[in-house]
């Protein structure tokens, strides 16, 4: 576990120092929210019905920028080799990176939330805690898959293009669940009767892909 903290701490620290990914990600998310306002009448009731969808599309697209950086950051000066040669296990490296990316994504999302709430006239305080739960579960799904795929694509040509190409189809069940749950929380303020299976699906997705990533990451790192 010591390695997990060391990696997470280093990643978080160096990102906060350069703010490269986080600035790009926040601005991108805001641009997406702006563009959506062209496509839909922002304050109409129908828009509220798809609010969860809009929000998660913005998060997923903006998140790819942060996830791409998580392993790409180790490329300069061949730091990845130095880290893999050190005595930490593959799963520690994965968890550390995932934890740092997860926190950074949460920061981006928490910045976007109030902006979204103002621009689209959505009340977020009505169901804040359940919303936070969905946010955490959905973001972890995005992180677990995203960091694994970032590790897969880190050494290849077209890295920036490959990650979204692989990530979004694979992520679709988690995105659907997050969108449905967020929408019903934003409209009704509570989980609806049909939401239980979605919540279970999201938790299951998180568990399955975290476990797979932990089990397989060592193969990806040591060729």
């Amino acid at each position: 576990m010591r390695g997990v903290w060391a990696i997470a701490r280093k990643d978080f620290q160096s990102e906060l120092r350069s703010k490269e990914a986080i600035n790009a990600s926040v601005s991108f998310a805001l641009v997406i929210l702006l563009i959506f306002s062209f496509a839909f009448e922002p304050t109409a009731d129908e828009t509220r019905a798809i609010a969860g969808g809009l929000l998660w599309i913005a998060f997923a697209f903006a998140g790819a920028l942060i996830l791409n950086r998580s392993f790409a950051r180790e490329l300069q000066n061949d730091c990845l080799d130095a880290v893999i040669a050190s005595p930490i296990a593959g799963w520690e490296l994965f968890l550390g990176k995932a934890l740092a990316s997860f926190l950074l994504l949460l920061v981006v999302e928490l910045i976007c939330f109030p902006v979204f709430s103002i621009f689209y006239g959505v009340n977020l305080t009505k169901a804040f805690w359940p919303l936070l739960l969905v946010l955490i579960l959905g973001t972890w799904a995005l992180t677990a898959l995203g960091v694994t795929f970032a590790a897969l694509t880190v050494n290849i040509r077209l890295r920036e293009l490959m990650l979204p190409l692989l990530l979004y189809p694979a992520l679709s069940p988690a995105l659907m669940a997050s969108m449905t749950l967020t929408t019903s929380l934003l409209t009704a303020g509570v989980f609806g009767a049909n939401d239980q299976p979605w919540l279970r699906l999201l938790v299951g997705f998180d568990v399955i892909f975290t476990a797979l990533a932990l089990a397989l990451i060592e193969f990806v790192l040591v060729l």
Binding site: R2, G3, A6, I7, K10, Q13, S14, R17, S18, Q76, N77, D78, C79, D81, A82, V83, I84, A85, S86, P87, I88, A89, V222, L223
Partner: protein, 237 residues
Amino acid sequence: MSPASEAVLASDVWKFHGDFPALRGVSLRTERGTCLALLGRNGAGKTTLLRILAGLSAPSRGDVRILGTAPRLPVTRRRAGYLGHGIGIYDELTARENLLHFARLYGVENKEAAASKWLERVDLKRVEDGRVREFSRGMRQRLAIARAFVHEPDVLLLDEPFTSLDDRAIHLLQNLLREAFARGCTAVLSTHQLREALELATNVALLDRGKLKFAGPRTQAMLDLPPSIYFETETEG
């Protein structure tokens, strides 16, 4: 301490890139406290072999032991130091943070003391809080050396350590290595800089197209005329 007397033991190591054999049945053994210079042309398999010894890559066939244990085991990696082609330090962090990070990864007992000690040794103490991004080339290289030594490894695996170094850093590295050998540390280093390497080496191994062409103690003749090793061994083969 494991009972094995070899620091590095490779038995019949093969590595394939697709169908291409980058290493073809390489067997090596290095006693503790010695320094093995790994020579060979570009593409002879030096880097591949060192990456396998460092646990960065798995051999396709054959077995590797470092200090008696498999390279990929955390126990082994804790006692090995690796310096590859890249310098392996982070530009956004300060010199001190870099060393602390790696000390943390290696589970060094007293991180702060270790970082201070090695910053002192490579003469970067006065810039310890400067970002590496702002460092000159020579300073970065010295920091990289400190990074490889920060956990006091028993086995050092150095890939072309002298190639990108300036004179000052070469001198520093040679001194640090001599000190390390004195306390029983073993080193395997691949190199093109024959003179610098041969001054340090106690043993020499020559790789050619993935095969071990020659392995033996370094002789005075090699030191007198470094390139002669290529001719000598080629006629033998």
